[in-house]
Symmetry: C2
Subunit: 268 residues, 2 copies
């Protein structure tokens, strides 16, 4: 599934919600823990309940690999139950020297058949290139993240007068096209979206940081939207952990519906 397909889904459904799948054994409903693969059963129920409320799913790879082999199995099975109409993102924040990034690209684009993977920019162009070489896949590069640590380096002022994250966006936008390259911009940094859109008017933005992290959705949509919407807004914890009772999937659906109603009124 390409950015064009994703954009079509978003505009047809007036829906830009991505649901983050960050399952933790300590947080999922207790009645699932006796099943053979609680993580998969949790994801499956969440996906079944929310698939009409979102256009994308974003498994956060840390939550699977921390469980070792079993976690990778849960991830494999989860990928099988995500409908093909939905865009899939491996939130992995990978990036290494060329021959190693090539292996990470193989992991997420071949071993798993994700549509997209998140990548860290610190190691520069040749660390990102192997992901971009998959013309039917999407590389999502960190621009300005949602966490407090985005202040440490991303907002350093460069000699050329711009912030580091602005130069990252500007340089990296030359490496790929809006069709195969997106950027992560955290909702907690929504105030910067106007200047970001001046640098990359046409690229999709993946926006985490709404919900548990406290970003302002109105500001995100007002400042971040472009003529084709161009936004994929991720919510994880406030949807998937809306309840930890037996009604968890129903409550997740309700929360996704509420969030969507709010987004749709803002998208206009």
């Amino acid at each position: 599934m390409t950015c064009t397909d994703l954009s079509r889904q978003i505009n047809t459904n007036n829906n830009c919600l991505c649901i983050g799948l960050d399952p933790e054994l300590g947080k999922i409903p207790k009645h699932l823990l006796g099943l053979k693969d609680p993580i998969f059963e949790f994801n499956k129920a969440i996906i079944e309940a929310t698939k009409n409320e979102c256009v994308a799913y974003k498994p956060n790879i840390a939550f699977y690999e921390s469980l070792g082999r079993k976690g990778w199995e849960s991830l494999e099975k989860t990928m099988e139950v995500i409908p093909s109409t939905h865009f899939t993102i491996a939130d992995a924040k990978r990036g290494d020297i060329g021959n190693t990034s090539k292996k990470y690209a193989e992991t997420f684009f071949e071993t798993f058949d994700f549509d997209a993977v998140t990548v860290a920019p610190y190691m520069g162009e040749d660390s990102v290139r192997p992901f971009l070489e998959y013309s039917e896949k999407v590389t999502i590069l960190l621009g300005l993240t949602s966490n407090a640590g985005s202040e440490n380096f991303q907002k350093l002022k460069l000699k050329n007068g711009s912030f580091l994250f602005e130069t990252v966006l500007k340089e990296a936008s030359k490496w790929g096209s809006p069709e195969n390259l997106m950027f992560v911009v955290g909702a907690t940094n929504a105030a910067s979206l106007t200047q970001i859109r001046a640098i990359i008017p046409d690229h999709f933005l993946l926006i985490p940081g709404i919900g548990a992290q406290g970003g302002d959705i109105q500001e995100v949509i007002t400042k971040g939207k472009n003529s084709e919407i161009g936004l994929l807004i991720n919510v994880s914890r406030s949807i998937i952990y809306a309840s930890n009772g037996e009604d968890f999937s129903l409550k997740a659906q309700e929360e996704a519906k509420n969030i969507n109603a709010q987004y749709q009124s803002l998208l206009g």
Copy 2:
């Protein structure tokens, strides 16, 4: 195993060699391919043949995860055959928001029992903190990497007059101590080691980029060594792929011996 233990091993043996375990099915000897777990069998033979020639092993996680569940199994089994006298590094280049970095730290420090893990700095302090919270473990942060892409962002000049990588080293050195925090400095950037040692005189440096990547070992040791040596020099491909015949482990041993003889004469 802590940095103090590692330093003792290095100084006792006058040996600072780390061997990178980057096994690829397309590159390992063909006679192993019929075995049940060729990747593990390859690693096991390499470890058995080289353990007296090095003080550390560094599995490159991309090469395992690209094989899916089976790769993680090979990695688990590999960890079991690395002698407890050797320092183990998960070369993973992870880093994400706090709750996610916590899961990555769990992966490498608990699910696997690595002594150290490599971490990317772009997301700042709170993305690194969960790794540093393991007081008996070591976080290895990217400083100045060995690849061409280190020019893109790491060598940008900041408004304060320093390069980005210098500010990363300076800031991050406040987050941990030389006991729980190391830095990656690529051998291909050995010319910068004098200025790097002025910023972080006491921290261990993990040096990739010797061998296949072409870094200058003499310059690395002359400029990078401190009073306790403080260097862990990684070589991967030129040792593990010294031969792809039935003599592969013997040739790997010979190559490791040659490299070590050269290092030892330079270490003095």
